[in-house]
Amino acid sequence: MEDPAPAAPRAVPVRHYGRYVAATLVLAVVALFVVAASKAQISYGVIPDYLTSPIILDGLRMTVYISVAAQLVGIALGVLFAVMRLSKNPVVASVSWFYIWFFRGTPVLVQLVIWFNLSLVFQTFTIPGIYSMSMNSFMTPFVAALLGLGLNEGAYMAEIVRAGIISVDEGQTEAAQALGMTAGQLMRRVVLPQAMRVIVPPTGNEFINMLKTSSLASLVLLGELFRNAANIYTRSLQTIELLLVISAWYLVLTSVFSVGQYYVERRFARGAARALPDTPLQRLRRNLRRGRTGGRIR
């Protein structure tokens, strides 16, 4: 009798029991959370109204404004002090070292309050021979916040930019020098553009931090998101409701920015990889097109 051809064995995939356990646990925790939230004495009804109330929107605009301004100050100072730190001139390099040491070594909250109270020790703000005004009218909450946040940020950015600059291969500097470029030209045209790939991701991180750290400026009376929310809840006593409102706005700001960061990073990856991967939007468009043409891959 002939042996029948053996049937192809059935393949049994591995069972992932851990996934079911984890899902059950998560569902339980979420349920507890929902129950707690429903029992809490929170007037959920007021949250949508506050989300778009004029005072909150004013605060939102100020938060964006001061964060962008302070980050720009920080980036400008960071590039300046990073280049100074790497300078062969020992005086210039030491100045940069001292700046970073001081502004990175003291709390930003303390720096903010010092700037704001500068009128206690200086009556006037004077640039000798050019300009003079009373310190109280010069050091507005906005100026104090800009100086406090910007100078502090500059110290961190200096270290980020320095790391970017020293990450660029020394052969690049030599090639630029051999072509007759001066130190300034080779920094602007050759080194910094390549350093950007290393500088941009942590800078995005810094800006997301800045969006949140700007709430400290409420201590120097700047009318940003947190200050304006606090102004409302000290009267209405809907403290948690308003804090939830501004938390939502902070999340919106950081999420929107994260998308922007993705595209900026792509821009500076040019030349580093042979071909850039598609963006999520490009992938979506391609998938839609494929759908229209009846699923055929072109």
Binding site: G171, A175, G180, R270, A272
Partner: protein, 268 residues
């Protein structure tokens, strides 16, 4: 010691200013003396090849010629002018950064690892220095750049990025980039050492063409065939000194010095 090769193709050399002149050039890195008194001369339109084991100081000497390394002793001049210094009376004044840069702009250099600018296209690499350093208009620089890319056989790669090219193609772009500055002297620092063997030929062909057009070249190389066919003069260096110099055919074919014989015995 002066190199006067009998095979030089130029007739205008004799009596003219040497393109490169070194007298007792010394260089040390910390305690290590890498150049212990180098004397040599390169005439205009001459091709000098430097060979020797690694650590012999040949690359360091090449880098001294455009002041990427500062010499510690002796005199080194290019086209009759001191490298990195200006003589006033009995004093040597160190040149300012801008003056050094201006002199470097007249000397082309090609590196072992290409060192193309990865964030610029091939054409961008070639037109960058003419525009920024020489102040050439963009349209002129682009026209010259395309012509040079055509010359090194890469006209169709003008818009590619360096990372999309093979090593041999990148090195030819690097040569075009150096030529775009219309240098009076070209320095090659082991230009084919980082290449796959099959890609070496294209780069050497470009260099051979340059030599035929009368470019003055100093080439640090391990390509003995190239040195023999294209070089007018050849120097064997070891441990920071010139061991043997002469016409390539003589030095390679009939080395006089023991150390030259030992080195050539291993590489040929």
């Amino acid at each position: 010691m002066t190199i006067r090769s009998s095979t030089a193709r130029s007739t205008a050399r004799s009596g003219g200013t040497p393109m490169v002149q070194a007298e007792g050039v010394r260089k040390r890195f910390g305690r290590l003396e890498v150049l212990k008194g180098i004397d040599l001369e390169v005439a205009p339109r001459e091709v000098l090849c430097l060979i020797g084991p690694s650590g012999s100081g040949k690359s360091t000497f090449l880098r001294c010629i455009n002041h990427l390394e500062k010499i510690d002793g002796g005199r080194l001049s290019v086209d009759g002018e001191l490298v990195g210094y200006r003589q006033r009376g009995d004093k040597l004044l160190e040149l300012k950064e801008k003056e050094v840069a201006r002199k470097r702009a007249e000397i082309g250099m090609v590196f072992q690892r290409f060192n193309l600018f990865p964030h610029m296209t091939v054409l961008g690499n070639v037109i960058e220095a003419p525009i920024r350093v020489k102040g050439v208009t963009k349209s002129t620089a682009v026209a010259t750049g395309r012509r040079l890319l055509d010359r090194v056989g890469l006209a169709e790669k003008a818009d590619a990025y360096p990372s999309q090219l093979s090593g041999g193609q990148q090195q030819r772009v690097a040569i075009a980039r150096a030529l775009a500055m219309e240098p009076k002297l070209m320095l090659f620092d082991e230009p084919t050492s980082a290449l796959d063997p099959e890609l070496v030929g294209d780069v050497l062909d470009v260099m051979r063409g340059l030599a035929e057009d009368g470019m003055t070249m100093v080439v640090v190389t391990h390509e003995m065939g190239f040195a023999r066919e294209v070089g007018d003069a050849l120097i064997f260096m070891d441990l920071g000194v010139v061991v043997e110099a002469g016409a390539p055919r003589d030095v390679l074919g009939n080395p006089q010095h023991e150390r030259t014989q030992a080195f050539l015995g291993k590489v040929l």
